[in-house]
Amino acid sequence: MRLRRTKLYLPGNNPNMLLRGHLFGSDGVILDLEDAVALSEKDTARILIQQVLKRGEFGECEVTVRINGMDTDLWRQDIEAVVPFGVHGVRVPKVENPGDMQLLDEALSEIEDKAGIAQGSTLIFCLLETALGIHRAYDIASSTKRIAGICPGGEDLTADLHTSRSDSGVELVGPRRMVVLAAHAAGVCALDTVFSRITDEEGLREETEFVKQLGFEGKSVIHPNQIPIIHSVFTPTEKEIDKAKRIVAAAKDAAKRGLGAVQVDGKMVDRPVVKRAEFTLQRAGITQEEVQ
């Protein structure tokens, strides 16, 4: 399982950030061809990102490119410029229509075929930035096998909801719950939106704890300083890891002996608890084989 605790946005026309961004330790980077690039510079940003993909280094980061929306005439040029050169996926803004994702799927397949890349290997991450997009979250998340994650919007979504961003984030509670439900029902990642108050570390921690509790698996990031805070929230503690190991080991032992029930620390644990323990170990980067 790939960790997606943090995905750092990098402006697509900024060589300094594009070349150094992965060094900040996020699980993924998003090379941005949309909002971070002026309309007059889309061509130069495409070429720069293409060169960086061809010759740059990203370490273990999952590399995605935020393309321009399907409601523009730019998205096709964006994917043609970047997909042949080694991206893990594309992030699509303002998704509202499952049919658009099928169209994108077909376009990606054509490019993969021409470039000799395995069909279906380019993932799609959808930004749901309107009320309609949130309302259709499950249909979008299950529209093609390429969809790997969905993410609620922040500013655009609150504007579409005729409200504004508050410190408590109450206006996004409903959409976030809908995204989590839709994502897990469709079997894709639920990824949260950015926290825009970059100097408010405590606020970021509180929001991250809240979205983790809702069922999100990570957040988008707009400043490198946010990465360690989010990682610390999403990374299990030693105590949690230890308990999870004992649960998984007991479950394995019970399965070997043909027993259905599992007992750990004097308590009976059932399948959902085992599943949660397995997920804790995945988050900690521990494989099932490593658990005795």
Partner: protein, 90 residues
């Protein structure tokens, strides 16, 4: 005179400007900026190789104002400026 450019003079970037050259001059390259004194030969080579990849056959001057751009950034900015000059697609 037709002139196009791409890039910036921010750190790790360069500004590449393409303009019409005098008849028969072919592609000429001029490098200025932070790395020019030490790396102008290598930088010229990158610029010319990029122009060649784009099959530039006309007379043009490519001026690079560098601020510590890596080779791949120089190639990207050159490609963008030349395509803007020739009207090619990115």
């Amino acid at each position: 005179m037709k002139t196009t450019s791409a890039g910036t003079i921010e750190s790790m970037d360069c500004l590449v400007t393409v303009s019409e050259g005098s008849p028969g001059s072919g592609v000429t390259v001029a490098i200025t900026g932070s790395s020019a004194a030490r790396f102008s030969t290598a930088m010229k080579k990158t610029v010319l190789a990029t122009a060649q990849e784009l099959a530039c056959s006309g007379d043009m001057t490519i001026a690079v104002q560098d601020n510590g751009a890596l080779d791949l950034v120089l190639a990207a900015r050159t490609k963008a400026a030349v395509l803007r000059f020739t009207g090619g697609a990115a």
